[in-house]
Amino acid sequence: MSLNFNPSLMRFIRNLLIIILVAKAISLVMLWYFQVEGVNHHPNPSKTPKYQKYNANNFIKPTQKPDIRQATEPTSQEAQELASYGPNISNMVLKGLFRRKDGGMVIIALKSRPNESDVIGIDDVFQGYTLKKVLKNGALFMKNSQTYSLYFSEDKQEERYVSRPSAQNQPEEDEGGIKQVSKNDILSYAKNPKQIWKDIGIVEVKKKGKILGFKVTRIKANTPFARLGLRKNDLIIKANNKTLTSYKDAINIYKGIDKLEALELVVIRNNKETEINYEIY
């Protein structure tokens, strides 16, 4: 019995097999050459104990925490005085303010969306209204050359005193050289980090590809950052005894900032290492 195959078909199958073999051989060479395992992230568990700042003064004298409720209540006379500046903005609610002689900022929200508050400084615009002045119990805005006022409504009294920063605008410094910072200030930044970048400009400083620290390039006047004692061109190299050598280190501090009770910053200022200590109350 003889088998007859189509010679063209046989040739095609033979060539196909050769092609497959060559392709497989090349893939094996590639497999040998690219003999690598997947890259994984291996976090190094921190062995550093929780940062705690001990101050001998605290053992002798308990920290005097300023009572933020000591702020003066607005009187109807003051409300009338504010209203005299211009019509009141009816669709907004003033949730808090923070005032200095030369500026300040307000926490503001739309009445329709009271939970979505925004923090705005002088000359910032909210819903078309430009903040021009922060007063004792309210704020003045400009829109289309017309002055508008916004003040605390009676039913928002409680909220006002909760969100209002300390009556003292400067962070208090006790005898141990530790500045006291309101937790509300910290929390307002933790909840609204967008505000951080409005108030401060920070860039990393690298040497030979390694981060040496984070440099303050810009700091807005009359903001909590300015009052913290940070200055333009300060190079922040350590926070709570942790050397800042990566964005991860900075982010870790940011992530846990609402739980901190003390903060120690080491900055290089005018080529000198300076330590700034804060107690968060």
């Binding site: 092609i19 590639m30 497999l31 690598v36 997947g38 890259v39 992230h41 609204n192 982010i251 992530k255």
Partner: protein
């Protein structure tokens, strides 16, 4: 003529066989190694070779050791004449949710033979829609973002970093 047809046919079969047998998983890990010095790590993923394509699932993205996103699936198709990477369900880490809406539903990155030095990308998510073009020859890129209502409402500060166009979209130009 017959010889040319056979030559083309054999060439196509060779390319198809090569694509099929290529150790895509290893090539992917090799690409991952190249990203590592840039501080980009894709970890904890499952890689499945589907013959002509590679599927990566349940990946976590780390940038500069910071956990940045969870990625649902990445489909990688490298055909030479047409190359595509389709990414689905990118959820940004909580750290970034104050700056950007966390969910990116899909991102499609394409490159083809006719414009080999140009990579196009489209991303759709809670932030709206973004189209990007990267020119490898000029080493520059452009992103045009059409923001969603959510983006316009809650992430105005992020949008302020971009240049607004007359059409209401936002443009970001970068060089590398």
């Amino acid at each position: 003529m017959k010889k040319i047809v056979f030559f083309l046919l054999y060439s196509l079969l060779f390319i198809a066989a090569l694509l099929f047998f290529t150790p895509k998983e290893n090539l992917y890990y090799f690409a991952e190694e190249q990203l590592k010095p840039l501080g980009v790590v894709i970890g904890y993923e499952d890689a499945i070779d589907h013959g002509f394509t590679l599927e990566i699932s349940h990946a976590k993205l780390y940038v500069q050791k910071i956990k940045s996103a969870n990625i649902g699936t990445i489909d990688i198709a490298i055909f030479g004449v047409y190359n595509a990477v389709d990414i689905h369900n990118i959820v940004l880490d909580k750290t970034f949710e104050q700056f950007f809406p966390p969910l990116i539903e899909r991102m499609e990155i394409h490159q083809h033979l006719f414009t080999p030095l140009e990579i196009n990308a489209l991303a759709v998510g809670d932030f709206g829609e973004a189209r990007a073009t990267v020119n490898l020859a000029d080493r520059n890129g452009t992103v045009v973002l059409t923001p969603s209502k959510l983006m316009n409402k809650r992430y105005r500060n992020t949008l302020r970093q971009l240049k607004k166009t007359k059409e209401g979209t936002y443009r970001y130009v970068f060089k590398f």
